[in-house]
């Protein structure tokens, strides 16, 4: 016997989740020595309050895993949690792997932009390393049906 879940969807009340759809808009940038943007990528993902968006950045000698979790409060403000994990080697030839992890949180409002530096902030512009930043903006997702009702 195969259970058809679609047949049961009518009995599930998804309105609670539907009202908490959030869009995570991210712009990942690589900054050069002069803090100029030398590479960037935009990405977007829809989630619900409390469900993390899992981002994997990989290349060269490192892997960055960022879990961005927005929690929507009852007053429509947000509590943003960013968890970062880094696996990296000193060089592409090195077999020794270093691991870093961090967990940061910040209360924000819907639409407010925040910047996550998973590798840390490069204060010293004379460093030979590029720096990475992730600009994150959480926006609520309007249901087209609800918009039509308001109008």
């Amino acid at each position: 016997m195969i259970v058809d879940l679609s047949a049961q969807s009518g009995s599930l009340d998804l309105s609670y989740i539907e009202n908490k759809k959030l869009s995570i808009n991210m712009t990942t940038r690589i900054l050069g020595d002069e803090n100029e943007t030398i590479w960037h990528m935009d990405s977007s993902k829809i989630t619900v309050s409390g469900e993390a968006v899992k981002v994997k950045l990989s290349g060269g000698n490192l892997i960055v895993i960022a879990n961005i979790t927005p929690y929507l409060n009852s007053d429509n403000t947000l509590f943003l949690v960013a968890k970062g994990e880094i696996f990296m080697t000193d060089s592409a030839d090195s077999e020794e792997v270093k691991y870093y992890t961090t967990l940061k949180s910040l209360p924000v409002t819907v639409g407010e932009k925040v910047i996550f530096f998973p590798l840390g902030m490069a204060y010293d512009s004379n460093s030979n390393f590029y720096s990475m930043e992730m600009e994150i903006q959480v926006q609520s997702v309007e249901d087209p049906d609800d918009s039509a009702k308001v109008e």
Binding site: W39, S43, G60, M88, K98, I115, F117, D124, F129
Partner: protein, 180 residues
Amino acid sequence: MMCPDKELISAWHDGETGRRWSEEITMHITDCEDCAAEAGRLDSLSILLHESKIPGEKEIRDRVYNAIERRRAVGSSEAFWRRHIDISMPVLLSAAAMLIVFFAAVLFAFQRLEAVPEVVEEIQPEPEISLQVISLEDAAAILLSDDSGFDVLITIPSGDALSVTGEPQLIREADYRRGE
């Protein structure tokens, strides 16, 4: 006074006659040898009964005891299904009701057991995932090769030039001045 019959003398002897009859019979017995003999016989019988000396009492008691012992011996050797068992009707009805409930429960349980395997047979066991991660190098290798479980995948073009430069930060864009 004429001689009273034996029943009247017996009643007099037992004190069951009235006062007038009792006085007359007492006077008669003192003068009549036959009635005095009858009264004496009643006295002897009364004494004998009060002493409880029943002739052959021991033989009678032994016979009764032997008869009881024989019946008990016969009863113990009788097959149990031939024995008579006294069970009251309420107890019998309660036992019957409990039996009915028990068999109904067993039947219900068997029906459920028959229904469950039909569902279980359709559930495929999850494949075993055996990751023998023994080091960070292995973990990094797995993460490099496996992109499942991630919502967004980004390939960094200049990964070799990137490094950890300090404590990771999460700040508002309004509070951030690049390069300062």
